[in-house]
Symmetry: C2
DNA sequence: ACTTGACCTTCCAACGATGGCAAGGTTCAG
DNA sequence: CTGAACCTTGCCATCGTTGGAAGGTCAAGT
């Protein structure tokens, strides 16, 4: 299977497959005589794993660990730990975004939105307190 | 006022002040004979505006618009519109992160976390459904 | 055989916002 | 005059992903 087929089968773009290879996230693919990479079903499986982990917001570093935990059948403890750390990260980001959204909502509510220029949103950005 | 003073006064690093200048977010600073940039109080004010807008999660492109709305005293309508669009963005990001976090929470709950390798988190990434 | 189009290769660059470092010039106080 | 603190430009790195350019390969149609 060439890289294009592997890409379609896994949902990871050929571009990214090559990239993952260069950063060492996946092992170097076998090559044909003419230099084409070729892939097996298990490589596609791995790529799909990576794609799903990316969708879950794991960083490539984390995915690297997850992959080794997966492929070496390490104790679930470690996986759980990693996932829990990531979850804490996610929650922190959510909380931060929420407080920004909350402040912005307030400001928008208080803006008349008409043709006059005065606007609490701008006033807030310009002046008193940061929009947090 | 030199760039360092402007940086301290505005909370924007000197690095970023130069960067904002190169990308055209702020106008080119006046220079001394020896090439030092120098700033007025109103520049600091502008920088503070930018810093607050960044903290509120606006992109530089959006900030560029906000700045011109602010400085040209355009109708509040336009500001409100821009802020509302940004808010929708924020909310979409929050929603997405929340659904990821929710799925991950589920998976973590179902993981025994012990020394055996089998783990629903890995199973999920490897197999059936994406972690959304 | 030959052309064509789809595919593959590598390398280089960009996004957005920021930090860091290096090599060199300037300013000011001691 | 020297040293510290400041400034200048420029390049590199992050992180994940995408795009392009220039060129080689393959398979199908003529």
């Amino acid at each position: 299977m060439n890289i294009g087929q592997a890409a379609r089968a896994s949902g990871v773009s050929a571009k990214m497959i090559r990239h993952y290879e260069t950063i060492g996230l996946i092992v170097k693919a076998a090559r044909s005589l003419s230099g084409y990479r070729h892939y097996q079903a298990r490589d596609v499986h791995t790529l799909r794993f990576i794609r799903r982990a990316r969708m879950a917001g794991f960083s490539t570093v984390q995915i690297k660990k997850l992959l080794s935990l997966w492929q070496d059948r390490q104790p679930a403890r470690e996986v759980k730990q990693l996932a829990a750390e990531h979850l804490i990260d996610l929650q922190a980001r959510i909380t931060e975004l929420e407080s920004i959204a909350q402040a912005l909502t307030q400001l928008i509510e208080h803006c008349h939105g008409g043709e006059r220029p005065e606007c609490p949103i701008l006033d807030n950005l310009a002046g008193d307190e940061p929009a947090r």
